[in-house]
Amino acid sequence: MSMKILAGGSLGVFGLAILASVLFSTPAHTQEPAKKTADQATTDEGKKIYDKYCAWCHGEKGAGDGPGATYQIPRPRDFTSGAYKFRFTPSGDPPLDEDIFKSVAEGFPGTSMPPWKHALTEKQMWAVVHYIKTFSDAFKDAKPKKIEIAKRISPSKESIEKGAKLYKDLKCWECHGDEGRGDGPSAKDLKDDWGNPIRATDLTQPWTFRGGSSHMDIFRNFTTGLNGTPMPSYADTNSDEDRWHLANYVRSMAPEKDPSAATLISSAPIKGPIPDDPESAAWKTAREGFLPFMPQIVEEPRHFTPMVTAAFVRSLYNDNEIAFLIRWSDPTESKDGAAVDAFAIQFPAREGEAGTKPYFLDGDEENPVMLWLWKQGAAGAVELLGKGLKATGPNPKAGTFTKTVASYNKGEYKLLVKYSLKDRPKGTVSFAPGAFIPVALQVWDGGNGEEGPKKGVTTWTWFTLEKPTPVSVYLYTVLAVVGAVVAQGWIVRRVRRS
């Protein structure tokens, strides 16, 4: 009995020790109280913080003209106007203090404005809010009123269908495009109130929604409009229900969960021929990898204003060929002129020794890359040898593209290339199943004036041809199941007989 108590007791002590370690490892929560009222001391503190962190882009006088503003699209906010895009106040009105605070704290995804909550305290951010307001007369005697948010309508199938009809009737597609990729007929020449070019949001990429991507954020934008931009308010023309339906439809254009950058692109084995049709079911069996682009800002001429943000990649292979199916959003189709739309897949030119790779930007003299380049209007993909950003040319050891299928539809490119795996020249990448090969992507948007070194790039990621699952795996699995059944039957029989 005493042993039992001892055992029970030690179990309890064990648990207590773990509980204690959990409790004491939690960091103490220390947060300065937020300062929501403006006084001289607060705005003075706000100025200090603003001058150190914000003036670079927004300018010392808040006109959005700091030295960092030069290459930014969208441009940094001009605080002297008092026009703010994301607010809970009626169209044309200045924002609530809370709206400015949220912008500072959360930042704007897809722009140069970072979330400052990681760097500044709540008190510091409130001080900045009050200082920012001193730049504009719009806040003088203004008492911004918070809009009422109507009860949310859940994103049911009916609601989304109603939203789709409204999207058509209200001509949202004129800027945002039929399928939401920001490719509408009026999208090209949009300007904000300052005369700066502005882009219609690609609604299929909620991770770039400046004001947030929740249903509520989208509903708010329809209700308040985005001051200073061509995006109007629909509060007076449409009912609360309509705006919820529309919000539900817009959010339904992309999956609920944002994709994250792939660290591995894998090619799935397929028996028989690889289909040329991107819509065929076989392509769905290949896992889709998401890779975001950085504009080429490493070597001159540098490119600071990219258009294409990311690509989705799938790959299939059989004994004869390897194929890639890539899709990406591009609001303009550019076939003619110097700058045409293009895409490239980059691999090392040589079967490399483990641990080294060519330079991720088109390689160099010592360690070149192989580039599979497709250009809008060309007959098919071509293989280049890259020895540096300005030193790409035909590859003497080029392989054969057995098929190139490219389509542009409603703001989306789909590119399918097939490459022969037969008789690979000695020393080149052999694409052996199970091997890991560095891969990188490049993209050009002709409509955005991208050509040559002005392009979107990724750094190296891994690519592999998945080996088919060995038969032994299934064998072991069946053995385990059978073994468990037999052992179980034996135990049950024994127990029931005794």
Binding site: Y53, G355, Y359, V482, V495
Partner: protein, 254 residues
């Protein structure tokens, strides 16, 4: 005797106790410990816990019998027929799944070993001019009269060239930071510029990713070589700014 059985009835049955302790321990290990422990450690903790529980229930025959009673009842008693069959189907399936999961080949890309601050060369050549990195100092530090002016000029250089990746808080979280691998350096961190000499920064900025030795994986780094873009003065200015902004002090020659 009567009293004792009544008391026993109110107690949680031993089998349930054991299950609750094992389950509770699992929840604590999985969700209660911060930072989370690796799965292999969790597995070891669970083995110890389950062994302790089994030891506890089998300390004497009486308690072992009590512990086994519900298990034997499920096997023998036909009132529990459905539960019995549920277990008899579920257990082989779980066994099959575990074996499949352990034997199916996993695709794991090679791990890149990368030295973050590799040893700098003794000297470098920048646009035809040789610099001895072992004795090189920031010449602008001596110019105390123009210190503030130089820091401001450095801020301009930074915001026009560096913030895209290293961020406007210098914390390595610029707008393109998530798109490149390896990630940009975080200058707020005590493990970067705070433990480096200014000459090291001069080398890293002028020669960039391509100038790294191979242990620094030069082919992966998106850090430009600034030699053809920035002047010597601009590079020293941006270095001054980086230290002023973060409040770090450069490591000095002893």
């Amino acid at each position: 005797m009567q009293h004792a059985t009544e008391k026993r009835k109110r107690r949680i049955p031993l089998f349930l106790q054991a299950v609750l302790i094992a389950l509770g321990s699992y929840l604590v290990y999985q969700y209660g410990i911060r930072p989370p422990i690796p799965a292999s450690i969790l597995f070891m903790f669970m083995v110890v816990t389950v062994a302790a529980v089994l030891l506890y229930v089998s300390l004497d025959n009486e308690s072992l019998e009590e512990f086994l009673r519900p298990i034997l009842a499920v096997i023998r008693d036909d009132r529990w027929k459905i539960v019995r069959w549920a277990f008899m189907i579920a257990i082989p399936l779980v066994a099959g799944y575990v074996v499949y999961d352990k034997t199916v080949p996993k695709i794991e890309p090679p791990v890149t070993v990368r030295s973050v601050h590799p040893a700098p060369p003794g000297s470098i050549n920048v646009r035809g001019k040789a610099y001895d990195l072992r004795t090189l100092e920031n010449p602008l530090r001596k110019d105390t009269a123009n210190f503030a002016k130089n820091v401001k000029a450095g801020a301009d250089v930074y915001i026009k060239n560096c913030y895209y990746c290293h961020g406007d808080f210098l914390d390595g979280k610029g707008p393109y930071a998530d798109f490149i691998n390896p990630p940009p350096a975080n200058f707020q961190d005590v493990g970067t510029i705070a433990m480096l000499q200014e000459s090291f920064l001069f080398w890293r900025i002028m020669k960039g990713g391509p100038g790294l030795p191979s242990e620094g994986t030069p082919w992966d780094s998106a850090m430009p070589a600034w030699e053809p873009i920035l002047s010597e003065q601009e590079v020293w200015q941006v270095i001054l700014f980086m230290y002023e902004f973060t409040g770090h002090k450069p490591r000095r020659w002893e």
